[in-house]
């Protein structure tokens, strides 16, 4: 209950932030929230199930493209929530089909197959120019609005609250899921799959469902990203995008939901800060990735929490000595 209240408080705080900070930060906060949803979906597989996908941007891009194409070519900006729903359905369908192939594989094979499949979608988006516009992408996608409630999300501050609500929902659902018997079974599979099988769990089905859920949330993040930029290009299917989420998870520490929050916030802030000084952001990301894997394989949040504990209980330590 206490953690629940704390979480609510944090969300409320986040909701007030854009009112206090200059409007420049609203965009950054939106990007952080989108990356958190994406990173959480990745961590569900990476940290909780023990499967590390290297091409997670596939779902991010598929729902983004589906929504963008529907709203540009068929609905012409009207009825945005059909496009929204279609984007989610596309991500679910895609995960359900790819999952049949991918979840059969383990360990290294899983990583390689997901990397290869992810690149396939990227290649398709680049080459299928009549549909996707190739590397030029598609522009002019309008943000959704609810006409009967006269809510229009095209203004950035309104869109912020739209993302905040979806982010809050995602976080809530994820933490419910991970606290449920289903989540515990996933952790069991991560630790010892054979044992879980012997105990009578259908491990394949658990992994398959986890894969679909992860794909769904990645799709949600992708759609929000397309809404935010009002633009879609093959870049959102690129490995760079998958890597962004991977770094956010590793930076924060995989296998804990709040790690994704810390990691994503750090990543977006770093990107913002470093790209202001140098064109070589990708090089810095690569280096950062290498350094974190070598020196902080468990991420920064264990370090932070240790720091937090030692700051809160200095007295006790002294007594101990």
């Amino acid at each position: 209950m206490k953690t629940f209240l704390k979480t609510i408080l944090l969300f409320a705080l986040l909701g007030v932030l854009p009112l206090l900070l200059p409007s420049y930060f609203t965009g950054i906060l939106i990007r952080i929230m989108i990356l958190i949803i994406f990173a959480m979906s990745l961590d569900l597989l990476m940290g909780y199930t023990g499967l590390t996908p290297l091409g997670h941007a596939a779902f991010f891009g598929i729902s983004g493209y589906t929504m963008a194409l529907l709203s540009l070519k068929i609905f012409h900006g009207s009825m945005p929530f059909i496009g929204f729903a279609a984007g989610i359905v596309a991500a679910i369908l895609c995960a359900a089909i790819l999952g049949l192939i991918v979840v059969r594989t383990k360990g290294v094979y899983f990583m390689m197959v997901t990397l290869a499949l992810g690149q396939m979608f990227w290649g398709l988006a680049v080459k299928w120019q009549q549909l996707t516009g190739g590397t030029d992408g598609l522009a002019g996608i309008s943000r959704p609005s609810i006409t009967f409630a006269s809510l229009n999300f095209s203004k950035e501050i309104n869109f912020f609250y739209f993302v905040l609500v979806l982010f809050g929902l995602s976080y809530f659902i994820m933490s419910l899921l991970l606290g449920s018997p289903f989540g515990h079974t996933l952790i069991g599979i991560r630790e010892n799959e054979k044992k879980m099988e012997i105990l009578g769990f259908n491990t394949w089905l658990h992994k398959y469902i986890a894969y679909i859920i992860a794909g769904t949330f990645a799709g949600l993040a992708g759609m929000l990203d397309v809404y935010y930029y009002q633009f879609v290009s093959p870049e959102i299917l690129d490995i760079g995008n998958s890597i962004g989420a991977l770094i956010a998870v590793i930076l924060g520490g995989s296998g804990r939901l709040f790690g994704s929050v810390i990691g994503a916030a750090l990543y977006v802030c770093l990107e913002q800060f470093i790209s202001a000084y140098t064109q070589r952001w990708v090089m810095v990301v690569g280096l950062l990735f290498i350094l974190v894997v070598i020196f902080a394989p468990l991420g920064l949040s264990p370090l932070l929490s240790r720091l937090w504990i030692s700051m809160r209980k200095p007295q006790k330590n002294r007594v101990g000595q």
Partner: protein, 283 residues
């Protein structure tokens, strides 16, 4: 008919280049259990390095060997100082080498820029052979020859004493070290050998496909598909897989260019469903 023969010829030469690259990747995994996603960057740097060297050396063969050695040294450094510490964790290897791929890709972009570049075809191999109505460039014949030669050499190497020692070291490291074999040197040399092949492939592939940013991922991806189809760590699998992917890629590119990648991944998916560990892989 002519179309089929021409594409067959192009496909086989492309397959041999892919094999040269993939052989290094799969051997490093097969013999050392290390997944090295930086292999694509080795190819890229081999090719760029070749462009620099050839302006001095003026000879493609010399350039290819120098390029290969340069990349072998790079690989040796990475294995010696970093990768050997993570021999037991595939996930760490993958993430680490993924990071290196990003780093090297941006490094190459900052040094050589975004323009595509090529390595000139050597004068000796510049001509083409006329067969019926077809004109087949000699250089591609040379590529096929080099690929076959490499396959034969690698096969002999695996059967040789050195190859046996490396395999013994993988099966039981302590025992092999116990009979007086310097395992860590053996591993570094094997890794260097794999990197050498990637660098070599980069240089001799230069006259055919050139060099440009993004080529590293493109070629790594094809070789991932090859090892998934052929089976991780199997030389035979790499050879058959290369032929399959090289031919399909060439034919589909000529017929339906939009869906070439799609077709290749479709084959990969089918293989995974039928044989999850690949055609020649072992669990």
């Amino acid at each position: 008919m002519e179309f089929i023969f021409l594409q067959l010829f192009n496909g086989i030469s492309w397959a041999m280049l892919l094999f040269l690259f993939t052989a290094g990747f799969t051997l490093i995994f097969g013999l050392m259990k290390i997944i090295n996603l930086t292999h694509g960057s080795y190819y890229l740097f081999g090719a760029y390095f070749g462009i620099v060297v050839i302006s001095y050396a003026k000879n493609l063969l010399v350039t290819a060997i120098i390029g290969g050695i340069g990349i072998a040294i790079l690989g040796m450094l990475m294995q010696r100082f970093l990768l050997h510490r993570y021999e037991t964790s595939h996930q760490t290897q993958v993430l680490l080498t993924f990071g290196f791929t990003l780093f090297f890709a941006d490094l190459a972009l900052s040094i050589w820029g975004g323009e595509p570049k090529t390595i000139p075809v050597p004068h000796l191999l510049e001509s083409s052979i006329r067969l019926g109505g077809l004109t087949l460039p000699v250089y591609r014949f040379a590529l096929i020859l080099i690929g076959l030669l490499t396959a034969a050499l690698l096969w002999c190497f695996l059967k040789s004493k050195f190859g046996m020692l490396v395999r013994a070291g993988i099966e039981n490291e302590e025992m092999t070290a116990g009979v007086g074999v310097n395992i860590s040197l053996l591993k570094t040399l094997t890794f260097a050998g794999g990197a050498f092949l990637a660098g070599l492939a980069g240089v001799i592939g230069g006259p055919v496909i050139g060099v440009y940013p993004g080529l590293d991922m493109q070629i790594l991806l094809l070789s991932l598909v090859i090892v998934i189809i052929g089976g991780m760590g199997s030389l035979k699998g790499a050879f058959i897989g290369s032929l399959l992917v090289g031919l399909i890629d060439t034919f589909i590119k000529a017929l339906f260019p939009t869906f070439s990648l799609f077709a290749i991944f479709f084959i990969m998916a089918v293989t995974l469903v039928v044989r999850p560990s690949g055609l020649f892989g072992s669990e």
